[in-house]
Symmetry: C2
Subunit: 117 residues, 2 copies
């Protein structure tokens, strides 16, 4: 058996929705739905709300991880999603989740990197 | 106040130490020590040991996050460390933590990306 590289999407959005950037519960519901939909396996997650309205989260997956950090005061969010291809090819799932996160926050992509690793 | 981009180091190692790739407790001790040393603030963490010897972890930080995924069966590890520069410039801390992780695992860097975001 050989190592199969997975896809890691690292993306920043600007001019995002202030509501979404403050709506940690909504983001959590989105992510939990995506995990179920794509039959990914969470190893656990940490969600943290800042006093200044933004939030940050890391979600461990047996397939790797997802993270988000929001900055409502700047209209920005940074997120990344990394899915390995160990047991099945997850590239299209990774792309789909990335698009769903972009739809949730709105705004525009200021930078995106797609790393094979 | 304007948004100050932070440093996100995304790195893969190969030919890493099998002991380190299986030593989740040792990695956790390393990370907890680095968080204390650099006065970072953890929001919580998730460590998960696989049946096949490897482990995966995500650590939430008020400054962003750290993740690791080990593959002892392939001698590989993928990790990333992202520290924002919101309250103080953390670039050198980010570089230091990355180096400490590389020292822990040994082996050689197969790819590294340093993203300003």
């Amino acid at each position: 058996m050989e190592y199969k590289k997975g896809l890691h999407i690292v993306c920043d959005l600007e001019d995002a929705s202030e509501d979404a950037l403050c709506n940690m519960d909504g983001f959590k519901t989105l992510v939990e739905g995506l995990i179920l939909k794509h039959q990914l396996q969470s190893t656990g997650s940490v969600y943290h709300h800042f006093e200044l309205k933004g939030y940050t989260a890391v979600v461990g997956l047996t397939e790797s991880h997802l993270s988000v950090h929001t900055w409502p005061e700047f209209g920005r969010v940074t997120y990344d999603i990394f899915l390995s291809n160990f047991l099945q090819v997850n590239d299209s799932v990774c792309e789909h989740i990335s698009k769903e996160i972009q739809t949730f926050f709105g705004g525009k992509v200021s930078q995106i990197h797609k790393l094979s690793r």
